[in-house]
Amino acid sequence: MEYFVQQFVNALAFGSEYALVALGLAVVFSIMGLVNFAHGEVIASACYCVFLAVAVGLSQPWLAILLALAAAGAASVLLERVAFRPVRNAPTTTGLLTAFGVSIILQNLFQLLISPRPQAVPVLNGLNATWHVGGFTVSSLQVMEFLAAALSIGALVLFLNRSTLGIAMRAAARDFSTVRLMGIRANRVIAMAFAISGVLAGVAAVFILARRGSVSPDMGFGLVMKAFVACVIGGFGSLSGAAVGGMLLGFIEVGLLVALPQEHGGLKEALTYVIVIAILVYRPEGLLGSRQELGDKEI
């Protein structure tokens, strides 16, 4: 019983991390229709900022956390201004290619300017403690990550529903032209979407850094691919879908790890995608996505 409770908590933690990153992708996609594959490098940028700050003497964990949040937000807004704004009106595929290009350029910059090797960053190691709760062992990081993901989602929902800018962002996600005609500045709405996406990346960066204790150039890329899958499961463009998709992916991964015999453990990734495809066959638009007319492509 303890084993299954433990694995349930693990699945919640995996899901929380995927949900946090998937939300960052979904916020930008819902406004711009851009799948920002450079989102992982925004996470890595925040981690490298902390690494550099530690190298020059930063030792306070709370300062490192604030720095990670600020750096990720700034990096995301900067990327929008430098890389994505010039291709805003280009076809979707151009934006996709730009995002991949930015991702590869940033990874190479980390490799060439800092090091291709992992660099130790122990400043947040203290967040990773073991708590014993009623006979169960729980990682403090897992609990905090779940709470942070829940709080982030709550704060985002409040912002989108209660603030003028949030309502403008929701409107822009439905009909950008109309929002502009109503006097809302497009640049401001899009920059805010990237800033929110960046801060979410910063929150994820704090937990990743605390768990890894090190930074490396490609640390964010694999995670963004998982987050992309989570967004597709949940329904691309739907914020709640991203959160649900992230959680579901976490449960699928941990569930397969527990259920598969070790001699078939190599099938975990393949079976994960079999389940994802099965979900998409049942709900092609994702669990919470809105249905689109496909015309002649309809069966």
């Binding site: 694995q7 693990n10 992992p118 203290g126 890894r212 204790g213 490609d218 790890l257 598969l260």
Partner: protein, 383 residues
């Protein structure tokens, strides 16, 4: 032949002869290297450059020339680059140190009679394939695994858990199993195998599985890379695991020490590698000299790169030729050649890989110590 023709012939000879002599006195090594990408931390390039610089400045024997191109750790790209380097008349070529890169490169290089030398390659696939033009710079994985098993068993471990992954071929999948085979041969017991994937940032599900095992393992063997293993060690200890964590050369990076806050966390970490670093050894002296000369070397893999250049240079001098086949023959002759990781690196016994002792490294208070440095008595059958 009149005087005018003789003058032209003499002039042509005067111009061409030195360049022919120079061309013959150069060993060109084409390095399709992982300067970027996931294998970049294990690249041997800077050590090779440092050794070439050192030998060239000494002025004895042939000039060692390195032609270096980045493969981005991509096997497919490395084959394309290899063809380009072969067309530049290299005598020796390298690739990404895994069979998906080295097998096609060895096939490409065979008609040119060019040697494929992979300094960090340990995977048995290249030896089993039996390419006459292939040489590895490191001992094969079963030898590494056997040395670790001997050391861990001698330290008192009796119940082993093997963690395997298909992500890096036999290096990550078979090496733990060879460890297990040797461990059982010595009298220990393998109590289970767990599967994992590379790039894990949270080992909690695997650790929950380990905690549920009865009896619990007192050694976990895994052949993985950093930062993954650093995270595993930290998480295992945070969850109360008190046994050994054993591994291979993927552990041998200076960032391992930095990945733990408490130095004592490494006291039960043990791994087999290719040479002694981080403890004031001759290899450290060489690496320090390289850094002072401006080469950003970092780890044992740079020393393996230096080994490659050193033994090729020595073999070319023995052969009295810079012909690729002649150098290969001299490398495989009895007696061995001097390197950085060993005074004598011999290919006489095995042909495709060197016979060297295998250092097993442990930690005391966060500092590296030598647990053993010998050729293991028992190595599982792998050919």
């Amino acid at each position: 032949m009149n005087a005018k023709t003789l003058f032209r012939l003499a002039l042509t000879t005067a111009i061409v002869a030195p360049s022919v002599a120079m061309a013959e006195d150069v060993v060109k090594i084409g390095m399709a290297a992982s300067l970027t990408g996931p294998y970049a931390p294990y690249a041997e390039v800077e050590g090779a450059k440092c050794m070439a610089d050192k030998l060239n400045k000494a002025g004895e024997g042939p000039t060692m020339e390195l032609l270096i191109e980045d493969t981005r750790s991509d096997a497919q790209l490395s084959v394309t680059i290899a063809q380009k380097l072969l067309d530049q008349n290299v005598q020796v070529i390298t690739g990404v140190p895994f069979p998906d890169s080295l097998i096609p490169i060895a096939q490409l290089a065979a008609p040119y009679d060019v040697t494929v030398f992979s300094a960090p390659n340990t995977q048995v696939e290249m030896q089993v394939a039996g390419f006459d033009n292939f040489l590895a710079g490191a001992v094969p994985d079963p030898v590494n695994a056997a040395a670790t098993a001997e050391a861990v068993y001698a330290a008192g471990a009796r119940r082993a858990l093997l963690m395997t992954s298909a992500d890096a071929g036999s290096w990550s999948e078979m090496l733990p199993q060879w460890f297990g085979e040797t461990f059982e041969h010595l009298g220990g017991e393998v109590i289970g195998t767990l599967n994992y994937s590379f790039g894990i940032t949270d080992w909690s599900p695997q650790i929950a599985q380990i905690k549920a095992m009865d009896p619990a393992p007192d050694v976990i063997h895994i052949s993985a890379m950093l930062p993954d293993v650093g995270i595993l060690i930290r998480q295992l200890q945070a969850n109360g695991y008190e046994g050994w964590v054993a591994g291979a050369d993927g552990f041998d990076d200076p960032s391992l020490e930095g990945s733990v806050t408490d130095p004592a966390a490494l006291d039960k970490v043990i791994f087999a590698t290719h040479g002694l670093t981080g403890m004031g050894s001759d290899i450290d002296v060489f690496l320090d000299e390289c850094r002072a000369a401006g080469f950003p070397v970092q780890s044992i893999f740079d020393a393996l790169g230096a080994d490659m250049v050193s033994v090729l240079h020595a073999a070319a001098m023995k052969a009295g030729s810079t012909d690729a086949a002649a150098i290969r023959q001299a490398l495989r002759a009895e007696g061995g050649n001097p390197g950085v990781t060993s005074d004598s690196i011999s290919y006489f016994e095995e042909g495709g890989f060197p016979v060297k002792t295998v250092p097993v490294i442990g930690f005391e208070g966060g500092k590296r110590t030598v647990i053993a440095d010998s050729v293991p008595a028992y190595v599982p059958a792998w050919r």
